[in-house]
């Protein structure tokens, strides 16, 4: 959406963008500065698109929904992992620093491969409902579910796999195979779901180690940065208690 600039004095914004294309043999990481006039209601989606259209067609970044729901546009914005599409420039000073999310494989500039990381995590943690029966008859009325429980499951299902929690996590930076708050939250979600046949014994197999819930140092870098405000703090603490109980069971 182009905003027709109204004849008012708009700020000059300076975007300091960490640029690096690992596919180019001779490239080195550097910060490039772009100047842009602010427009009313300008988001980082609008700003970066304008930079690419007018100033630098080679700049790489990812946007899909531009509405804060798909999780594509996580990046470090003034040092904090956030969704770029729903960050409005008005809430920042004139100098805005942008860098790719750490931990994830860098594709180029602000674009990182969260998709590959999330798929790996999903395969490892088997983040799908493990059905209780082989055959289901979908012509029959569905199994009832407690409405409040359905809402609770939905709450945890709201994760958009943006990777902000992983980027904000000290353990994830040190330990390559750590499943992150996103992974622990998924286990909490399937654990809560009565349709999933797995027991705590099964979940313990998946997250009962240092790459799982016992690797978490409870520093809660994740909780504060989650753009969907998932209750990561309580979920991780709860899961840890359950896994400790399961572990001591033998």
């Amino acid at each position: 959406m182009t905003m027709n600039a109204t004849p008012r004095n708009h700020r000059k914004l300076r975007f300091h963008i960490l640029r690096y294309n690992p596919a180019k043999a001779d490239d080195t990481p550097r910060v490039q500065v772009y100047e842009l006039e602010e427009a009313p209601g300008m988001t980082l989606f609008i700003a970066l698109t304008e930079i690419r259209e007018k100033l630098d067609p080679s700049l790489q970044f990812d946007f899909v929904c531009r509405a804060g729901i798909c999780g594509s546009c996580g990046m470090m914005i003034n040092g904090r992992p956030s969704l770029a599409c729903r960050s409005v420039t008005q809430s920042f000073p004139e100098d805005i620093w942008l860098a790719p999310l750490p931990v994830f494989e860098l594709i180029g500039d602000l674009s990182v491969n969260t998709g590959k990381w999330m798929r790996g995590m999903s395969e490892k943690l088997e983040t799908w409902v493990h059905l209780q029966q082989e055959k289901l008859d979908f012509t029959r009325i569905e199994k009832p579910m407690d409405p409040a429980l359905a809402e609770e499951v939905y709450e945890l299902d709201r994760c958009i796999e943006c990777g902000c929690c992983v980027a904000g996590c000290g353990t994830a930076r040190m330990r390559e195979d750590f499943v992150g708050a996103v992974g622990l939250n998924k286990i909490a979600r399937f654990r809560l779901d009565p349709r999933d046949a797995r027991t705590d014994e099964d979940f313990y197999e998946l997250v009962g180690d240092d790459n799982g819930v016992f690797g978490c140092m409870s520093l809660l870098g994740c909780h504060d940065v989650c753009p969907k405000q998932l209750p990561l703090q309580t979920q991780i603490a709860f899961l840890r208690r359950k896994m400790v109980a399961q572990g001591t069971k033998g």
């Binding site: 209601g41 929904c65 729901i69 594509s72 594709i107 983040t127 799908w128 569905e142 939905y154």
Partner: protein, 671 residues
């Protein structure tokens, strides 16, 4: 040259592509999914409001069934839909919701007892039945007689794609992310896969497959103001078009959603109005009842969008610094409802408008929303003209939406079509197992052709800027091929789009490299988008009537006598600047629901000469089988033979319990 072999190549990792791949894989065929982005980020994620299926669990859905869903959908389509396909769809939708429930979608559930809802601006108490406790709940949506839209709070598409994508992972179906199909490989009769570009490395490869399915979603980005994601550029439509053989159906049928936030175009769900939200004008007056006394805010989308623009033309819009808009008022729903059932709406208003919808009204104006047209297929989902090419979801013209699709019918279509077409693809693979092998020379030729096209962009000489051309196209489409259309505007649009297409053939790049290069991507896509835009504009220009979302001010009547037919567009030659149009008549004599008044919108239309005879034949059949809706339906328009066997059979409801023993056969699926 890198070649990847698979049984089934699914282009698109949205709900349709994922569900189709799962179906084919479970029948024993290898499937690979290609996607521009990680599957869960496909635009299916954005669906907020819900999925239609006639479960009839809630009190306001009592009496709902396939027949009612069928009629709503056909009326919604303004009789443009293929009625057999609509029947296949409505019979499968309840099974799809129930399958998704088993796969983990946290559908919102019914609470028994009293609850207060807002209907027509008034508080009303509804009592939910004890038997419904814990079953999947339904909400009200535009254009439906019953409350039929199943939902997971206001993140329905999100929850659906989470579950379906996770099932695809469980089934070990690879998703090749950041991969873009550039061309279909074919010999004019059969499709053999696609030429694919790796968006990270720029490398081209050939994906050779027995069956290829285009599940690439919508084409909203050919417009300036759209609710669609930035990747909804209609490249899948162009893939089919550029074969020169497979056709796009009804591309002029473009839906505009009443409530895009102004000016960004981000959608706030129809659930806002379904749950009781009102549209208001500059004076704070609720204007929809003035135009549509019956359905008011909940007439079908094409009607509401038109009424809104009509009201703005009367000077009743609110002037803001970005232009004119109307208001959506959901304050009357209350804080609790908004924070639990419409939270994504709250988020959007908060982050993108700085508005608190609990207290303030939301600035809205209609925005492009849905592409009814698409790759024309038969009822099994296969192209009639290019064997081995299938399509499902928004990219297809299967054709269950005709000239206007109902809210909630689209995510339902993605999954239902995925279930059905997945079986057709598997049948095709089974049948063709012994067919002659793929002509590798042809594969090489296609890859080299795409390579040469890309190389041409990087050579010096091109003067045109790809993003400028794209911008001009989008402005043109929004200004001239929008909600209100006229012959003069459309002719101008067609003329200018043709010029843009010619200009796009001399695009030059400022950063001329073949690797990861966003400018190169814009360049090759805009050429394809222009062809898609031209099929929309030209189709609209030639269709001299109004039907569903296609509204011609100079031809305001629906004209069944001349236009009860589907537009088929093909692109014959590379040098062409216009598609070739042909038409496929809809057979009134076979319709279960002969054309009539929709129940909302304009009442005057020109009848098809066959309509009165069919109408009396239908009435006679109805009288003959009165009291038995299944027998009536079977006599009017048999369709069950078109469904895969496991999807035949009735659907159980609270009010239509299966007696022990009379459980229909089939209808079980493995996990």
């Amino acid at each position: 040259m890198k070649i990847v072999h698979t049984d089934v190549l699914v282009i698109g990792g949205g709900l349709a592509g994922l569900r189709l791949a799962i179906g084919a894989k479970r029948r024993g065929h290898d499937a690979i999914i290609l996607s521009l982005v990680p599957a869960k980020r496909s635009h299916s994620k954005a669906a907020q409001g819900g999925m239609q299926a006639s479960l009839g669990n809630v009190a306001k859905g009592q009496g709902d069934n396939e027949d009612v869903h069928f009629e709503d959908t056909v009326r919604g389509s303004d009789w443009g839909a293929d009625q057999e396909v609509v029947r296949m769809f409505v019979n499968t939708a309840p099974k799809a919701v129930r399958e998704l429930a088993a796969w983990g979608v946290p559908w919102s559930r019914v609470r028994k007892g009293d609850r207060t809802v807002i209907i027509n601006g008034q508080k009303v108490t509804i009592t939910e039945r004890d038997e419904a406790q814990g079953l999947v709940a339904q909400r009200d949506f535009g254009g439906t007689k019953k409350w039929r839209t199943c939902y997971a709070a206001d993140g329905t598409g999100h929850a659906m794609i989470n579950a379906v994508a996770d099932q695809a992972i469980a089934d070990s179906i690879p998703v090749h992310e950041r991969m873009e199909a550039l061309a279909l490989i074919h010999d004019g009769n059969r499709c053999y896969g696609a030429v694919v570009r790796d968006l990270v490395s720029g490398e081209l490869s050939a994906y050779v497959a027995t069956a290829t399915a285009v599940c690439t979603g919508g084409a909203g980005r050919v417009y300036r103001t759209t609710t669609n994601a930035v990747i909804c550029e209609g490249i899948g439509h162009a893939l089919a078009l550029e074969t020169g053989v497979s056709a796009l159906g009804n591309m002029e049928a473009i839906q505009f959603h009443p409530t895009g936030i102004f000016p960004a175009g981000i959608l706030v769900t129809e659930g806002c109005r379904g749950d009781g939200g009102l549209l208001k004008d500059v004076d704070g007056h609720r204007f929809m009842p003035d135009y549509e006394p019956e359905k008011k805010e909940l007439a079908s989308r094409d009607v509401v969008s038109r009424r809104m623009e009509e009201h703005i033309k009367k000077g009743k819009g609110h002037q803001s610094r970005f232009g004119t808009h109307l208001w959506l008022d959901i304050t009357l729903l209350g804080e609790k409802h908004i924070h639990t059932n419409l939270r994504e709406v709250w988020d959007i208003c908060h982050y993108f408008l700085g508005v608190d919808p609990v207290k303030e009204m939301i600035p809205v104006r209609p925005a492009q929303h849905y592409t009814m047209g698409g790759v024309r297929t038969d009822a099994s989902g296969q192209s009639a003209t290019l064997k081995g090419l299938f399509s499902a979801g928004e990219a297809s013209c299967w054709d269950m939406h005709g000239f206007n699709r109902l809210g909630g019918n689209s995510v339902a279509e993605t999954v239902v079509a995925g279930m059905i077409v997945g079986e057709s693809v598997a049948d095709y693979c089974d049948a063709i197992a012994n067919a002659p092998t793929v002509p590798m020379g042809l594969v090489r030729e296609f890859v080299e052709r795409e390579q040469a096209k890309l190389a041409a962009f990087t050579k010096a000489g091109g003067k045109e800027d790809a993003s400028v051309i794209k911008g001009e196209m989008q402005d043109l489409m929004t200004a001239k091929v929008g909600i209100f259309r006229t012959g003069a505007d459309l002719e101008e649009a067609v003329d200018k789009l043709q010029k843009l297409l010619v200009r796009s053939r001399s695009i030059g790049l400022r950063s001329p490299t073949l690797g990861a290069n966003p400018e190169l991507v814009t360049a090759y896509r805009v050429q394809r988008m222009l062809k898609v835009a031209l099929t929309v504009a030209y189709g609209a220009c030639v269709r001299t009537e109004s039907r569903g979302a296609h509204f011609r001010q100079d031809y305001p009547q629906r004209n069944d006598a001349e236009w009860l037919k589907r537009t088929l567009a093909t692109w014959k030659g590379d040098a062409d600047t216009l598609p070739t149009l042909a038409y496929e008549a809809l057979d009134v004599g076979r319709m279960e629901l002969p054309p009539g008044w929709r129940g909302y919108g304009a009442k005057d239309y020109i009848d098809h000469p066959d309509t009165p005879a069919r109408q009396s034949a239908v009435e006679a059949i109805r009288a003959q089988h009165a009291g038995d809706r299944f027998a009536t339906q079977a006599a009017l328009m048999p369709y069950e033979h078109l469904l895969p066997e496991y999807l035949r059979g009735r659907n159980e409801r609270i009010d239509e319990r299966f007696a022990d023993g009379d459980r229909p056969a089939a209808a079980t699926t493995g996990q």
